[in-house]
């Protein structure tokens, strides 16, 4: 095991796959020589693998996604980067109408082994075009797989699985987890999609969340332990496919569920999870399901407003206390 930050673990996973399979190549804005991407995930890879396999592109998300889809259906394994998740709107047709549907539209004669990496989330004071959390859109689109790794040990195993998957994968990252450190196995390992991880075991309340909210939830769980409230924290790791069993088993144990994501509340992934749990575990609920999300507004630029906008530990803890 080696302690490393999320960003390094992610890069290590990509690098292992590039070494293993020469069809794997990267494309995106400023990901190549001397720069290594806006969040430095690919730093050094262009130097190691050359500009052919780590390709800088024009500033055109539609082009990046379109080229990646074309490469994927003609035998390559592209790992494309959209610098900010917000800008994926410019590539929506390629992602949702082309990549997601081709396998079905062509009667299974082709598949699209594409990984589209991007980053969501606020906390950097870079306003509403660079801070959104839009994962629910992709969870809603049949034909896409969606990964949401929040921890260094998970991101490495998940990116490798994503690259090997014959289906298009929206691989979502978060700006504030890149620097989170964790022990990461040295030997090669894969983490299957659709397997949630219980990050902390507890008896009274289950918190299900994604990205930085999981890190906050773990802090809250520690805090609430002192009050005698035992919190279980579940990381889904992938939204599509979704591990319902781990979540529902947990709810059956605790009887209470708090859903925490940074998304704006209406139509968020949390809404879907709440619906699933009430459909499949209604009789085990001992309290209403609580959602902790951002308010339904664009992400504010003003730092004090953004701090207010993003759910904090206090709000998560309160949601738990409200139903215990």
């Amino acid at each position: 095991m080696t302690e490393m930050v999320y960003r390094e673990a992610l890069k290590a996973g990509i690098r292992e796959e590039m070494l293993r399979d020469e069809r794997v190549f990267l494309l995106g804005e400023d990901i190549g020589l001397n720069w290594g991407g806006a969040f430095k995930v690919t730093k050094g890879l262009a130097e190691e693998f050359g500009a052919e396999r780590v390709r800088d592109t024009p500033i055109s998300e539609n082009t990046i996604a379109g080229a990646a889809v074309g490469a994927a259906i003609t035998g390559m394994v592209p790992v494309a980067e959209i610098m900010f998740g917000d800008l994926i709107t410019l590539a929506m047709d390629q992602v949702c109408n082309q990549a997601a549907k081709m396998h079905y539209m062509f009667g299974g004669q082709t598949s699209v082994p594409l990984v589209l990496r991007t980053v969501f989330g606020g906390g950097k004071n870079i306003a509403s075009h660079h801070s959104q959390s839009l994962e629910a859109w992709f969870m809603h689109t049949p034909g896409l797989k969606v990964a949401v790794p929040a921890f260094a040990s998970d991101v490495k195993g998940l990116i490798k699985t994503a690259i090997r998957d014959p289906n298009p994968v929206l691989f979502a990252e978060h700006k504030l987890v890149y620097d989170k450190k964790e022990e990461v196995p040295d030997d090669e390992y894969l983490i299957p999609f659709g397997e949630a991880k219980v990050r902390r075991e507890g008896a009274d309340v289950t918190i299900w969340g994604t990205f930085i909210m999981l890190h906050k939830a773990l802090e809250v769980a520690e805090e609430l332990q002192k009050e005698g409230i035992s919190v279980e924290v579940i990381d889904p790791r992938t939204l599509v496919p979704l591990d319902k069993k781990t979540l529902i088993d947990s709810v059956k144990k605790t009887g209470r569920l708090v859903l925490v994501t940074e998304e704006t509340k209406t139509g968020a992934t949390t809404a879907e999870i709440a619906a699933i749990v009430q459909e499949e575990a209604f009789d085990w609920l001992d309290a209403p399901i609580k959602r902790v999300n951002a308010p339904d507004t664009p992400v504010p630029f003003s730092p004090p407003l953004e701090n207010y906008f993003i759910p904090d530990n206090k709000r998560i803890a309160q949601a738990v206390r409200d139903i215990v």
Partner: protein, 413 residues
């Protein structure tokens, strides 16, 4: 015209729910305002409820034997074909496993008993939704079903009083719910009468309060003499005989004038001391125990009390007492002397604060002025609600009563 909702009405102060005894009208019947619609059993009596309006009975919401809390809807009256609200009354008996309908149902001899669950009093802090539904989590409801717990008897500890799983588990463990499920053959099943259910509920409620009981022995020799003397006249004039109980009721009423806290009730944190001294006289009927009220007993003579008690007792046996004759007592006297009981420990008749229990009068050798004498002795016990009264005042009350009964000619006649 709007649909009129007929509700369970409060027919006496202590009434918390009514039991449906008989529907006098059926769905579709035309009724006029004031027509008798349904017979119910309140706290201790039967009543008929009247139609609140002219119209047609559109819907009857409850069945015979249902226990319906005050103000819950029981029927809708309106114009033919009119749309009725989708509401159902809360039924206290809804989840209990007691046999509905017949009072005595014949059971096939081979049949064995099914699980029967007895219940305690519904807590007053019950969390209810605005429509009267019990506020319980799905998990609590599921648990309640599994354990056979009636949620209307569970206190919720969750946010906003919601009943959560652990409340159900706790209720199962704590309440005296006796589940009888065995292989013994049952000959017949007797459903508790409404009066029996009232007694069960109120006694359970009372038993939860801390009782302390004082015991003394009272020399009734003088009272025996007094009774003999009174009866010489009374028997001729009224055709009845004054009982020891009548003399005791008078003595108790006089004593209570000096002990107002024994003639009171606890309402929240306030002790309400009553103006009148109304003595409840416990009587056995075929149906169960009832308490007949002798109002202003302190202002009545022993003969008045005797005549009134005899007359009410006769009517009690044929169920002809008016509700006000069965309610409003402020202190109860229970006498098991006629059953040859020497002494017993009573349970307070709520919401009163104390009760007096009497045994039989027996001739006994006792020491009087350092000599053995044959005296007519009676054991008496007084139980008080220890939340309100302590041992010392209870002792004082009992010794004052003893003093009065041992010198009965001193009583205000």
């Amino acid at each position: 015209m709007m649909v009129t909702t007929m509700i369970m009405q409060r027919m006496s102060v202590a009434m918390e729910y009514g039991v449906i005894l008989k529907w006098l009208k059926k769905e579709g019947d035309k009724v006029k305002k004031g027509d008798l619609i349904v017979e119910i059993f309140g706290e201790k009596n039967e009543f008929e409820l009247e139609a609140p309006d002219d119209g047609v009975i559109l819907k009857i919401l409850c069945d015979v034997n249902d226990e319906i809390p005050i103000s819950e809807p029981i029927a809708y009256i309106g114009k033919e074909g009119e749309k009725i609200p989708d509401a159902r009354p809360l039924k206290l008996n809804a989840a209990s496993a007691t046999t509905p309908a017949q009072t005595t149902a014949a059971v096939a001899p081979t049949q064995t008993s099914t699980a029967v669950t007895s219940q305690t009093v519904p807590p007053s802090t019950q969390a209810r939704l605005p429509d009267g539904k019990i506020k319980a989590s799905p998990r609590a409801k599921k648990k309640a079903k599994e354990l056979g717990v009636d949620l209307s008897f569970v206190v919720g500890s969750g946010p906003e009083g919601r009943i959560v799983e652990k409340d159900v588990t706790a209720a199962k463990d704590s309440t005296p719910q006796v589940t009888i499920s065995d292989e013994r053959k049952v000959r017949s099943v007797e459903t508790m009468t409404p009066l029996r259910r009232t007694i069960a509920r109120r006694m359970t409620q009372s038993a939860q309060n801390p009782h302390i009981t004082m015991i003394t022995e009272i020399d009734m020799t003088e009272a025996v003499a007094l009774r003999k003397e009174i009866n010489l006249k009374v028997e001729k004039v009224h055709g009845i005989r004054v009982s020891f109980n009548d003399i005791i009721v008078k003595a108790v009423a006089d004593t209570l004038e000096r002990f107002p806290k024994f003639n009171a009730t606890l309402a929240g944190n306030d002790l309400h001391i009553f103006d009148e001294v109304n003595i409840g006289v416990a009587m056995a009927t075929d149906d169960g125990l009832i308490v007949v009220t002798i109002r202003d007993a302190n202002k009545k003579s022993i003969t008045d009390i005797a005549v009134e008690t005899k007359e009410k007792g006769n009517r009690a046996k044929v169920n002809k007492l008016a509700p006000e004759e069965l309610t409003g007592s402020t202190f109860t006297v229970s006498n098991l002397g006629p059953f040859k009981v020497d002494l017993f420990i009573p349970v307070i008749n709520p919401p009163e604060t104390a009760i007096l229990a009497l045994g039989q009068i027996k001739k006994k050798p006792v020491v009087v002025d350092d000599a053995i004498a044959i005296r007519s002795m009676m054991m008496a016990s007084c139980a008080v609600d220890h939340r309100i009264l302590d041992g010392a005042p209870a002792g004082q009350f009992l010794s004052t009563l003893k003093e009065t009964l041992e010198n009965p000619f001193m009583m205000k006649m």
